[in-house]
Symmetry: C2
Subunit: 224 residues, 2 copies
Amino acid sequence: MVGIAGMPEVRLGDDLAALLVDALGSSGLDDRDIIVITQKVVSKAEGRIRAAAEKEAAVRAESKRVLRRTRGGMFISETHHGFVCANAGVDESNVEEGAVVLLPMDADASARKIRARLRHLTGRDVAIIISDTFGRAWRLGQTDVAIGVAGMDAFIDYRGSLDEQGRELHATRIAAVDELAGAAELVMGKARGICAALIRGAPVTFGRGSASQLVRTPEEDLFR
Amino acid sequence: MVGIAGMPEVRLGDDLAALLVDALGSSGLDDRDIIVITQKVVSKAEGRIRAAAEKEAAVRAESKRVLRRTRGGMFISETHHGFVCANAGVDESNVEEGAVVLLPMDADASARKIRARLRHLTGRDVAIIISDTFGRAWRLGQTDVAIGVAGMDAFIDYRGSLDEQGRELHATRIAAVDELAGAAELVMGKARGICAALIRGAPVTFGRGSASQLVRTPEEDLFR
């Protein structure tokens, strides 16, 4: 796994797939590579930007419901996608002064678009994960998780598999795309301007998954 | 990052550090390597095993409090360590017939012990992460997280760092050990009998962290 250095500052309308191909240079892409790209640049390319003065209105508009408001004034929201995160993903870090960035409208669709464009440009069949940094219930610290996926399964599904003793593993469905997003965070960092990572050889299934499959609906969730 | 193949079935009293050194063979260890090892083998070496017939009593004994009971009869518990997980970590997969495995009594202490023993055997200063597979609120699927840490910081702390625009990043403290545990899960798998992974070159800080630092107390947690 390596960070993809050399991406320029991304602006509205930029062709992210072309920028990735340029940044990768001669090392290029192989079939079954996975590219993790941060939400921030996808949102910038899609123009999902508001004036900082409209931040609270944007947080409310991006929230399907507000679960809690912290003493520090932060909202814990469920977004229209069904993700639960701080301020419905509206964030002002790594964006120009006076602006805030929203999550992509449909990050699975954004991922599919980047994947299709990469196939057009390179002939390679890769998977795309769009990542963002979310907090968790129960555990301190944030981790990067997948908010958009294309070209691979979201899960590694062990339900029905046998353990070393030949007994069925129950209820084990690993959120592989979240584990990959988290690992990619470590090679990108937060302040180094690296917004994408390349993962080769991951033992995942290259199917038709999406990040929307990761959404635990309020009805399935014991903690809402 | 590679899975460490060739570990034997672990039994009570086994010297895990010696088994790791044998399995690594001539490739050996470098200073600042990170070894991720699954909770299951640490618990087995420490004799944290009960009869399957005592499972429900073990779950209750391992729980500081029970947060919820699912329709399927699973407990969501807070353990005495402060971790929130299914059945207080008591689990019967990958263990001999008729037995269940508990979490280590103090997995940070277990990690420190393995680290000290590896230093004694190899002269190398490595970090240890003991991992387990936990579910999450809000998101489907499980990921591996750190329940024991030695020789490295649990977090990468960006609070006070500047973003690309020179503005302070706020409230960003990445749970690096959880991201590493998740990534290691992918190279170990659940049914392949690989119980440890070696990570080289991770951009983390090799300090005096612990997994207990990741515990969000009920008072700090908006969702309990």
